[in-house]
């Protein structure tokens, strides 16, 4: 998926969990949808494509997959 398809995918999301190296980035935009800049920064690979698994649960977008990340995603999603 290229940039436009990825931005369309993230449109409407308000929260984001992204695996970034050893860390997890957590964004919570409250009532405001995440901006295109956030979607580009955290979802797109440097070649401009979406390369890692992405999970969408309601208004939560999760980038990457690890057991720890998905455990947190389930907790995060249940606090919507």
């Amino acid at each position: 998926m290229d940039r436009l398809a990825t931005l369309a995918l993230a449109r409407g999301a308000r929260r984001l969990l992204a695996k970034a190296g050893q860390d997890i980035v957590r964004l919570d935009a409250g009532r405001t949808p995440l901006g295109d800049a956030d979607a580009e920064r955290y979802l797109l690979h440097e070649d401009g494509f979406l390369r890692v698994p992405v999970l969408i649960m309601g208004d939560l977008v999760v980038r990457g997959y690890t057991e720890e990340l998905y455990r947190e995603a389930l907790t995060f999603a249940s606090h919507a």
Binding site: M1, D2, L4, A5, L9, F49, L50, R51, V52, P53, V54, L55, I56, M57, Y65, E67, Y70, A73, L74
Partner: protein, 132 residues
């Protein structure tokens, strides 16, 4: 009395020209349709790990063109038909015509009775990403 033949003027629509245009349009449509990628997706659902349903399967390229950067979307659907979670997985950078590539997606929605899988992204040649 001299015999004169009337030539069709340029731009004038005649039954012959119309038939020719229709035939050309049909040929173009058939060519475009035959070049459209066609996918067959099979999948299995593994619910053995609570809350982390694993969906594995393969994408078969039944079209007449090679495709690039293929993605699938796995949708977990609840009993009311509502999509409760979606997982997007990158399948392969290249699937040649007649070829097949495996995929795997983990979707934490073990309670969902149904999982749907479809190809949601691909590229033909050097073109932009497309969605079926």
């Amino acid at each position: 009395m001299p015999l004169t033949l009337e030539r069709p003027r340029a731009g004038r629509v005649t039954p012959g020209r119309t038939a020719l245009l229709v035939a050309a349009w049909l040929v173009v449509q058939i060519a475009v349709a035959s070049a459209q990628p066609s996918f067959r997706v099979t999948h299995e659902v593994d619910r053995s790990t609570p809350d982390r349903t694993r969906v594995t399967g393969s994408v078969q390229n039944d079209g007449r063109v090679d495709v690039h950067d293929v993605y699938v979307t796995v949708e977990a659907v609840d009993g009311a038909g509502k999509v409760v979670a979606r997982g997007i997985a990158f399948v392969s950078p290249h699937i040649r015509q007649g070829g097949r590539a495996p995929f795997e997606a983990v979707v934490p929605a073990g309670g969902a009775p149904t999982f749907r899988v479809r190809v949601t992204g691909y590229r033909v040649g050097l073109g932009a990403s497309e969605s079926p």
